[in-house]
Structure formats: structure tokens, C-alpha cells
């Protein structure tokens, strides 16, 4: 997550202190991402607690030592529910982001390599699809194929490959005029070989960066769909489902069932973006001054 401008004038550079801040930010982000991944992977097998365990005598308890996040309207522990929700949301997010990246990279590389009318046609399609607001397109796909894990993952993937395709295509176009590509071509390499052996490895860092940044987007998208009742089935409680399910308690004045699932979306998003920003500065220092949202 960078918006430090590299183009700041010398007379107001904060050299060391800014670098120190950046290092701290990267470490905090890395720790948070690690904590998220560990919690999601380890808590379910190691902690022998049932997230679905209903205890009506303990319903809607405010945060306390026994229940750090409080309990929901059925007396279920919210911390546990949030970890399980994050697991579901993250899983859908990662699957959708991977699918979108593979699709976008394939489209971007083929458009950039084939060029000519294929390139123009493909980019026209990308422009057309991106004219439909993402969430609306997602809602349409989910409405037509009924809510469920796969329709949601597919709808997120189908609405998010466009930016990757654009980035990869631009990268391929700029790589095509490099001497090593000329050398490969004059060495008799086929177009297919140039694309797979020489261009694809060169665009992979960019594509991987786009994939990492897409995970929070996909998570956000999934929780929005789930919140609208067009996402995952309620037994697979994702963070969006948790927020949706807490609406009744919120209107009765209990804030904790709403607040904590939201924080579970914000914190990983910021951490992932912080790490990805540092990574991008490393692979592409020239673009440090660009905003990343």
C-alpha cells in the first residue's frame, strides 16, 4: 500500500525516517498476513471447539474474557465464527483470484503475441465487459445460476480478469521489442515458443502481483454478494453472511456481531496491500509514486 511519492523534492525529503516507517509497515503487514494464514489453517484442526455450538443461555453476550468478540444471537462464540468466516471468504477469494489471473494472463499474452485484429478484437471485448459494473454483473450471474459457492467464485473470476489482461498485454507489448525476443525469433523460435518460453516468464511477476492484490478484492466481492443474500449458502458462514445475519441484533442495539466480521475483512485487506506494495516497489521501483488502491 504505497502512495509515497518518489518525486518529492530534495528539500523536503524525510530520508531515513520515511524508510524506517516503510520497514515497520512491511513488518506489521507481514506479521498480520502470517497471523491470518496461520489462524485460518491451524485453528479449525487444532482447536476442538464447535463454531456452530448453540448456547441459548449465553446469547448476545458483549465482549468478555470468555468470549473476546462476544456471542451472537444463538450464543455462538463470535471469535470462532469470524475465524471460520475468514477461512471461507479467503478460500473463495483465493480460488476466484487464481482463476481470474489465469484467464487474464492467457488473454493478455495471446492478445499481445498475436497482435493485429485478434488484439483489437480481444481488447474491445475487455472494454465491453468492463462497461458493466462489476457487482452488477456478479449479481446477474449469481441470480441466473442461483447462489452457491461455484456461481459466486465464477462470477468473481469473470468480473476480475479484465485488469490483469490489460496489465499483461501492455507488458507483453513493451517486451516484444526487446533484443532477446528478436534473438529468439531470428534463432527460429516459433511464435508459440516465444510466447511460452520467453514472454510468459517475464510477465509472471506482474501477473502474480495482480493476483495477490486481487485476493482482497475477491473477498470484498464475495462478502458483498453474501451480504445481499446472493452469495454463499448460510451454512457456509462467510464474513458477508455473518454481517448479514447480525442485522437483527444490530437493530436491537448489539454492535459486536456486526463490528468484528467487518474488521476481519479490513485488516487482511490492508496487510495484503501493504505487503504487495513493498513487493511492487522492489520489482518495479520506477512506479513507486503511483497510487495503489
Amino acid at each position: 500500500m504505497t502512495c509515497d511519492s518518489a518525486a518529492e523534492p530534495a528539500w523536503r525529503s524525510y530520508g531515513t525516517s520515511r524508510r524506517a516507517t516503510r520497514a515497520v509497515r512491511v513488518r506489521v503487514s507481514a506479521a498480520l498476513v502470517a497471523a491470518t494464514v496461520l489462524a485460518v489453517l491451524l485453528v479449525p484442526p487444532l482447536v476442538q471447539l464447535d463454531q456452530q455450538a448453540v448456547d441459548l443461555s449465553a446469547k448476545l453476550l458483549p465482549p468478555s474474557w470468555a468470549h473476546p468478540f462476544g456471542t451472537d444471537d444463538l450464543g455462538r462464540d463470535l471469535l470462532l465464527r469470524c475465524v471460520y468466516g475468514l477461512r471461507v471468504s479467503l478460500l473463495v477469494g483465493v480460488v476466484a483470484a487464481l482463476a481470474a489471473t489465469v484467464l487474464g494472463t492467457a488473454v493478455g499474452v495471446s492478445a499481445g503475441v498475436l497482435g493485429g485484429w485478434v488484439d483489437r478484437g480481444v481488447m474491445r471485448v475487455v472494454d465491453t465487459v468492463s462497461s458493466v459494473p462489476h457487482l452488477l454483473l456478479g449479481i446477474f450471474i449469481v441470480a441466473m445460476f442461483r447462489p452457491g459457492v461455484w456461481p459466486v467464485a465464477v462470477s468473481v473470476a469473470l468480473t476480475h480478469w479484465l485488469s490483469t489482461a490489460r496489465i499483461v498485454r501492455a507488458e507483453v507489448l513493451s517486451l516484444r521489442s526487446r533484443p532477446y525476443i528478436d534473438a529468439a525469433v531470428s534463432g527460429g523460435a516459433s511464435r508459440w515458443r516465444v510466447a511460452v518460453r520467453h514472454l510468459l516468464p517475464a510477465v509472471l511477476p506482474q501477473a502474480a502481483l495482480a493476483a495477490v492484490l486481487m485476493v482482497p478484492h475477491a473477498m470484498w466481492h464475495e462478502s458483498a454478494l453474501s451480504f445481499l443474500g446472493l452469495g454463499l449458502p448460510t451454512h457456509l458462514a462467510s464474513l458477508g453472511n455473518l454481517i448479514q445475519g447480525a442485522r437483527g441484533s444490530l437493530l436491537a442495539g448489539q454492535w459486536w456481531p456486526t463490528l468484528f466480521p467487518g474488521l476481519f475483512i479490513i485488516v487482511p485487506t490492508l496487510a495484503i496491500a501493504g505487503l504487495a506494495g513493498a513487493w511492487r516497489e522492489r520489482i518495479n521501483p520506477r512506479r513507486r509514486s503511483e497510487l495503489m488502491l
Binding site: 472494454d127 454481517i243 475483512i265
Partner: protein, 322 residues
């Protein structure tokens, strides 16, 4: 300028054709059966002959391409079909609700642009200062926060705890008429939340643009001439720094629509976006098709506006080059 507008409108026609075609193709590929949806539970006991007759009456026995063509030609005359969930013609649904959605989006966007400019300039004034860090981290956190979650927390705080503002709807439940005062008080929360969701993006870009402009020669010259800080900031830095931001405004329409979808459904605001969610939940295909087309058209208009603003504010750009 007229030529650019004309060319963009010409480009919009194939885009809209492809989008509507895609909408019909998706519906044809989906397991959804409009006849069963129309007949409801009656379809369970109906014999095959009745269902086939119903299918023929509704015109869904034809291939989707011909249904698309039929819909398209009817749409050009203003007939968008019948909404099954709201039991109204689709055109009437849109006509009644468009005003409320536009009002919400316009107010929210204006608030976001004004607040974002002020915050962005304040942050850019001293990069690395406490204020700058505060504004920047707040902006990133708000950007990461789901807008529906912000909306719910706003309801909890302002409607339930402080009891300042109504929690949703367009008017009080007891009132029978829509009065401007009631609408205004019901507008504050949804428009505020939508504005907050659009704010971070705008603030960060203004901060970036103004920060870069502050390092440029004209600003240094203005400082050297001894102009006041306010004149330098607002007269020089903001003017050139805001330029790239203004052109991005038009391209924010998709995010605005996305935000409106969520905000309207949380606050039961009777706009188009809330109708979209209702239509999707009930698989109301005619309404969904019309609203997707409408949203796409709004995005295309936004893109056109972005290009026009770019040309208007930057005298170096000639419309004939675009």
C-alpha cells in the same frame, strides 16, 4: 468536441448491443426457467400441455437470439416488458426510482469531491506530517472497509445510539406524503455513507496530484514571488494538481453504482439499485436485463464525461486527437 461525442455515442451502440446479447445468452445458458417461475407452485400440478401453451404465450419457446431481437425492438419503443416481482411495467419501475437514485448519487458524489479536495490539499501541504499520515491511513482503512458494513455501523451510531437521524426509507412510516424536509433528513445517512465510501479514492488522488504540483517550477516561482500560502495552494498547486483527478471522476461511475447498490439496500432507499437486488433475489429477468443495460449506459456516459472534462480543463489536449 461534437465529433468526439458523436464518435463515442457510435461506439456505445455496439457495446450496448453486445451487453444485452450477453445478458440474454447467459439467461439461456442458466438453469432458470421463466415459465416455472411465472407459474410458481401451480407449475407442479400443471400438465405438459398447459406448460407448453404458457411457454408459447410468453414467447420463451423461441431461441434466445430471436427473443433478444424481440426485446431490443420493443425496448426502442419504450416497452421493456413486465417486472414479475414488482408487478409493474419495467419502464415505470425505472421511471419512478431513477429520481431517487440520481439524487442519492449526486449528493454523495458532490460531498465526496468537496471533502476529498479539502482533505487532499491539507495532507499534501506537509507530506509526512501527522495530519498527512492521519488522512492517508484513514483513507486506506476506509477504502478497505466494506460499504455495507459502514452503513450498518452508521445506522447503529446515528439512528440507534444518538437517535439523530432516521435509519432508513424515504419518509417516516406514518407520513403519507413525500415532503422535501423528510426526504432531506432521510437522505443524510445514506448519502453520507456513500460519500465516505467514495472519499478515500478522491482524497488520495488529490493528495498525490497536489503533492506533485507543489514540487513543480510554477509553484516554486509563485513562492519566490512571495505569494501567500493560500494563493499558492489553491491558486497554483490545486489547479494543476486537480487536473488529472477531474478526468478520473467520470470513470468512477462503476464504483458509484456498486456503492449505491449496497447503500440503497441497507437503507431501504427506494432507488434503482435496491430494485436490482430485489430483481436478482426473485430472478426477475426483464427487470434485471433493463437495469444491466441502464447501468452500462451510465458507465459509458461517465467515460464520455471524463474525456470531455479532460479536453475542457487541459488546453493542450485537442479533441481531434482523441
Amino acid at each position: 468536441m461534437a465529433r468526439l461525442t458523436g464518435r463515442r455515442l457510435l461506439f456505445a451502440v455496439p457495446v450496448l448491443l453486445v451487453v444485452t446479447f450477453g445478458v440474454f445468452a447467459t439467461a439461456a445458458a442458466s438453469p432458470f426457467d421463466p415459465v416455472k417461475a411465472y407459474a410458481g407452485t401451480a407449475a407442479l400440478g400443471a400438465d405438459a400441455g398447459t406448460l407448453a401453451r404458457l411457454r408459447e404465450n410468453m414467447g420463451v419457446d423461441q431461441p434466445f437470439a430471436s427473443r433478444w431481437w424481440h426485446w431490443l425492438t420493443a425496448a426502442l419503443t419504450g416497452d421493456l416488458g413486465q417486472s414479475s416481482v414488482l408487478r409493474q411495467p419495467v419502464a415505470q419501475v425505472i421511471g419512478e426510482r431513477l429520481v431517487w437514485s440520481s439524487l442519492l448519487c449526486a449528493v454523495a458524489f458532490a460531498v465526496a469531491v468537496l471533502t476529498g479536495t479539502v482533505l487532499g490539499v491539507l495532507a499534501a501541504r506537509r507530506p509526512g506530517s501527522t495530519l498527512d499520515r492521519l488522512v492517508t491511513s484513514l483513507a486506506y482503512s476506509l477504502e478497505a472497509a466494506p460499504v455495507f458494513w459502514l452503513a450498518l455501523l452508521a445506522i447503529w451510531l446515528f439512528a440507534l445510539q444518538l437517535d439523530l437521524l432516521p435509519a432508513g426509507g424515504l419518509t417516516d412510516t406514518a407520513s403519507e406524503q413525500v415532503t422535501p424536509g423528510q426526504v432531506a433528513s432521510h437522505l443524510v445517512l445514506p448519502a453520507g455513507v456513500l460519500a465516505v465510501s467514495q472519499l478515500p479514492w478522491f482524497t488520495l488522488y488529490v493528495r498525490q496530484g497536489v503533492g506533485d504540483a507543489l514540487a513543480e517550477d510554477p509553484v516554486r516561482g509563485a513562492r519566490a514571488r512571495g505569494l501567500s500560502e493560500t494563493t499558492v495552494l489553491f491558486g497554483h498547486a490545486l489547479r494543476s494538481g486537480l487536473l488529472p483527478v477531474l478526468t478520473l471522476i467520470g470513470s468512477r461511475v462503476p464504483e458509484l453504482i456498486t456503492g449505491a447498490l449496497l447503500v440503497e439496500s441497507v437503507f431501504s432507499w427506494p432507488g434503482i439499485a435496491a430494485a436490482t437486488v430485489e430483481a436478482a433475489t426473485a430472478v426477475d429477468f426483464p427487470l434485471l436485463a433493463a437495469l444491466s443495460t441502464l447501468a452500462t449506459a451510465a458507465v459509458l456516459v461517465g467515460n464520455l464525461l471524463a474525456d470531455l472534462l479532460y479536453g475542457l480543463f487541459d488546453p493542450r489536449v485537442k479533441f481531434s486527437d482523441m
